[in-house]
């Protein structure tokens, strides 16, 4: 392949290092300083970290709500929280964890930080759209949390089923806040999906053909496409709900030909792919870490990639298993049972190949790998109890009980949180330049692992004993108090674990061991640059000689030269064979994404209170978008089209 890269090129020369180059690139690619710089920053690394930090803060807030829930349910007839407060808290907990933590952390956070580096690109595609996505996500999160603080916290469940969330049964603006928060976060996820998919398809290093793409990039690509197909469904659902509530349409009003199941179909058509949008990033981290710490190539690259793609497809065909209790025709029940069982197969394939990779290897059980093993133990329980839920008769029993609560916490905490911590410890040296403490990390792991299992394993029993979800209290006659108290006690361990993690992050950031470029000896491109990477990511954009870029690199592996260093030039390659095609100019820092996000937010929030916010808010939005897209300045040399290239 190296030969093929080179032979396309006219001059085969060896690199003559240019000592001035880093300085010039630094000047070209640096962001503004100060607050202005923070507001206008379009560096994918900064935005990726910002996504992660913000999502983690929401994780802590959601965790506090979870602790309040467990405190309330610790004993029967507890008067700690009333039903009104409890309903807001459990709704906020679910909505925060799904919309403000899990997706923004696993998809946006890791994706925005890691993907361009792994592609060998100088920046993400459409960095301003990326920045806008961050601001909108932040806006959605603030909207909902300010809502809670002003007694306007959504109280209709994270799924907001009609008619409970409709105008007749949910007065005030609580449900509107929920619906509009959805709009914010989904627009954000869609924006990042476009950025990531374009980066993966157009900014991969020469030589990183589809056949050599790291599994993480494959998964991010599949997830981005899933986001693009799934998120519109929830936006339609929440927009129709808003219209029903605010201008009196009748989509979900049974008295006027509307339909309550329509909402559920729309919501779960998004809702189930969403589970995979959260699970696949976790799996992608596992597929990255396992070969690195086993010191060998991953076994079954192609089957794993095919499994990931299959998951993306089948994920859209299983949504009705959330609706088995509504009484659908038996044929459709059987179909969705089969589909829900089928999706076990691609997940199983990945597990078997991970096991195979570990089997013949030299396993170094470093801290990130410890979390990977935690993932195996925990996620498998959730995945297997999921098989039970695919079965209609069994699902009609355990649906909406604590059994389900246990199941999806095993799936989501197992499938997302454990890989998240693995990934955070893994890329911590890349992000900060220093190693995280392994001792504290192990304390974190064991505290969290034990606490998690105490809390959520117990919930299986509660569910089997008939405890429904979303109850703010229960009678002592039901004999749920002992198990509930045990479940609540696990919170102490989990809290301690998370505190240890935070301490570890703050300590290791300043006092950790200096990491160097590639402390784990991993194969992917992000480890070829310094830790933390410079603003321009790579002094010379790399090329790739095999699936495991750094392990397969030749001693004189070619680097890309000829990108201009006086403007932010990036290389665009062909989607399939990564042949260099043309050069794009990265737009650089800008205040317009912030302004646009402000006008868009004002319109969204205003529309909760009056439909006039749309016509009044549209002109400022349009003006900011025109201001954003209007070309600034003038290129020093005119841009050239393909005609001039071919002569």
């Amino acid at each position: 392949m190296t030969e093929s890269i080179i032979e396309k090129d006219r001059q085969v020369t060896r690199l003559t290092p240019d000592p001035e180059l880093p300085g010039r690139l630094e000047r070209t690619w640096r962001q503004h300083g100060g607050i202005w710089g923070w507001l206008t920053n379009t560096d994918h690394k900064a935005i990726g970290v910002r996504f992660m930090v913000t999502a983690f803060i929401f994780f802590l807030l959601g965790g506090i709500l979870a602790a309040l829930i467990r405190l309330q349910l610790m004993r029967p007839e507890n008067s700690f929280l009333g039903p009104d407060a409890y309903n807001q808290i459990f709704t906020m907990h679910g909505s925060t964890m799904i919309f403000l933590f899990a997706v923004p952390m696993m998809f946006q956070g890791f994706g925005v930080y890691v993907v361009p580096l792994m592609c060998g690109a100088r920046n993400i595609a459409f960095p301003r759209l990326n920045l806008l996505s961050y601001y909108l996500y932040l806006g959605g999160g603030l909207l909902m949390w300010i809502g809670l603080l002003t007694n306007t916290g959504p109280d209709v469940g994270w799924f907001a089923y009609v008619t409970l969330s409709g105008p007749g049964f949910s007065p005030g603006h609580r449900a509107d806040i929920w619906a509009q928060m959805i709009t914010f976060t989904e627009v954000s996820a869609l924006g990042v999906a476009i950025c990531l998919a374009t980066t993966i398809l157009r900014h991969r290093a020469p030589g990183m053909t589809l056949n050599r793409m790291p599994i993480l990039l494959w998964e991010k690509l599949v997830i981005s496409i899933m986001v693009i197909f799934a998120m519109p469904a929830v936006m339609v659902a929440s927009s129709l709900l808003l219209l029903d509530r605010l201008v009196g349409t009748h989509f979900f009003n049974p008295a006027e030909g509307g339909d309550v199941l329509l909402y559920q179909h729309l919501f779960w058509f998004f809702g189930h792919p969403e589970v995979y949008i959260i699970f696949l990033p976790g799996a992608s981290i596992i597929s990255t870490l396992v070969p690195c710490f086993c010191r060998r190539r991953i076994l079954g690259y192609t089957p794993i990639v095919v499994s990931v793609i299959a998951t993306g497809f089948i994920g859209f065909g299983v949504w009705v298993h959330h609706m088995f209790a509504t009484g659908l025709p038996q044929l459709s029940e059987s179909f969705f049972t089969a589909a829900s069982l089928m999706i076990v197969i691609p997940t199983g394939v990945q597990f078997f190949f991970w096991m195979g990779t570990i089997w013949h290897s030299r396993l170094q059980l470093r801290l990130p790998m410890l979390w990977v093993f935690g993932y195996f133990f925990v996620f498998l329980i959730g995945g297997l109890s999921g098989v039970m839920l695919a079965s209609v008769p069994l699902d009609t029993q355990v649906h909406d009980t604590y059994f389900i609560v246990a199941h999806f916490h095993y799936v989501l905490i197992g499938g997302a949180l454990f890989p998240m911590f693995a990934g955070l410890y893994f890329w911590f040296p890349k992000i900060t330049g220093r190693m995280a403490s392994e001792t504290l990390g192990k304390w974190h792991f064991w505290l969290f692992f034990i606490g998690f299992n105490i809390t959520f394993f117990t919930m299986h029993f509660l569910g089997l004993r008939g405890m429904p979800r979303r109850v703010y209290t229960y009678s002592p006659d039901m004999h749920w108090q002992t198990l509930s108290a045990i479940a609540s006690s696990g919170v102490i361990f989990m809290t301690a674990g998370v505190i240890v993690f935070i301490v570890n992050v703050f300590r290791s950031r300043v006092a950790g061991e200096i990491a160097g470029n590639n402390p784990w000896g991993d194969a992917s491109l992000e480890w070829a640059t310094s830790s933390p990477p410079p603003a321009y990511n790579y002094l010379y954009p790399p090329t790739v000689n095999g699936r495991d870029a750094l392990w397969d690199a030749l001693p004189d592996q070619p680097v890309v030269v000829g990108l201009r260093d006086d403007i932010r030039e990036t290389l665009v390659t062909h989607s399939l064979d990564t042949e260099p095609q043309h050069k794009d100019e990265d737009p650089g820092p800008s205040i317009w994404p912030l302004l646009a996000s402000l006008t868009i937010s004002a319109t969204f929030v205003g529309s909760i209170f009056t439909p006039w916010a749309i016509p009044v808010g549209a002109p400022p939005v349009i003006i900011t978008l025109i201001g954003w897209l209007w070309p600034r300045g003038h290129s020093p040399t005119p841009m050239r089209g393909r005609e001039s290239w071919s002569h």
């Binding site: 339909d259 009484g327 008939g466 002992t482 006690s489």
Partner: protein, 340 residues
């Protein structure tokens, strides 16, 4: 605030983990459908447990035999021979997975058919259940209007007879779920669906709303009283009667209180002027074991407390507080207690 007993872990675990028999338990069903589902549960459970144990043993074994203690990144190694075997092993594992899933699918669909299928040989009892925030309206429809029994929250059924439940909702989505008898069924506004169950053992089985339905979702219980066919018919005949006439002064005064206060705006007592259908039918209130959707026992004290301040017991419930004078309250409770 935290009871000290909460922390007596060892003792608690011992008493918690074995499943205590009860009337509200998926794994202790008292009806054939529940038993089918319970059987299915254990069937799948043992398969899954075996799979889990194998997988965990596999991962642990793989980790243990491969582990090296070096901290520095080791060079990359290749295992071509092992990889070939591993690929065969993975292929086999996938094949076994497919077979297991197929078995689970077949057994699940078969069980589903048994649970949903209707025995047509017997005359079923038809019950219409309508969900309200936050109680259950129960009627036994009959073509003759005066033969229709209306009650609330306590569903009487004859043992050994199929019971067809027609579901409906008056406001939001509820879910009808008696765990010891059968799986749940959502009550959807705008849809009327039907399902059936059958109870073979006499007894009282508890059920609860399983779909989040607002402030008092937690206190929306019901009970299914399974009794012999003759007892059931006697109960039905009793329920068809209008309310008992007052037998003494106190009770008569209680009826007057009922009819001159807020009560009659929402409740029906057949045989009196009270005929509103907003709240539960109280014609035979005293025959029920519990009040407020299985929240309180039907005793004089609980009833009085409920009437005076229902919002203390079920904050958000649709029932208004009734700050009655003590003697009025006493008379009212006596009257309600007389409605056998």
């Amino acid at each position: 605030m935290i009871p000290e007993a909460t922390f007596h872990f060892a003792g608690l675990l011992a008493q918690a983990v074995p499943l205590a028999p009860g009337s509200h338990n998926i794994l202790h069903p008292g009806a054939p459908q529940g038993s089918h589902i319970e059987w299915l549960y254990w069937f799948i459970f043992w398969i899954l447990l075996a799979v889990y144990v194998l997988m965990i043993v596999g991962f642990t074994r793989a980790g243990a035999k491969s582990r090296v203690l070096s901290r520095e990144p080791l060079p990359i190694s290749e295992y071509p021979e092992g990889d070939r075997r591993a690929k065969w092993a993975v292929g086999t594992a996938v094949a076994i997975t497919v077979i297991i899933l197929f078995v689970v699918l077949a057994i699940s669909v078969a069980t589903g058919k048994r649970v949903a299928g209707m025995t047509t040989s017997k005359n079923p009892v038809t019950i219409s259940v309508t969900g309200h925030q936050w109680w259950w309206e129960v009627t036994y429809p009959n073509p003759q209007a005066d033969q229709t029994v209306t009650t609330a929250n306590e569903i009487h059924v004859p043992v050994g007879t199929p019971v067809v439940v027609l579901t409906n909702s008056a406001d939001v989505i509820h879910s009808f779920w008696p765990p010891s008898i059968t799986g749940k069924r959502d009550l959807l506004p705008g849809y009327s669906t039907a399902f059936w169950f059958q109870v073979d053992q006499p007894g009282v089985y508890r059920g609860q709303c399983a779909e989040f339905c607002g402030l008092q979702h937690a206190h929306m219980g019901f009970s299914i009283v399974a009794q012999s066919v003759s007892d059931f018919q006697a109960w039905q005949q009793q329920q068809l009667k209008p309310a008992a006439e007052p037998t003494d002064q106190e009770v008569a005064r209680g009826r007057a209180v009922f009819l001159t206060h807020t009560c009659l705006m929402c409740h029906t007592i057949r045989g009196t002027d009270a005929g509103s259908r907003v709240g539960p039918d109280l014609t035979h209130l005293a025959s029920r074991k519990m009040i407020a959707a299985e929240t309180l026992p039907n005793t004089t004290g609980a009833l009085a407390g409920w009437i005076v301040d229902p919002q203390r017991i079920k904050p958000g419930a649709r029932m208004t507080p009734n700050p009655l004078a003590p003697d009025d309250l006493q008379a009212l409770v006596s009257y309600l207690r007389s409605l056998q």
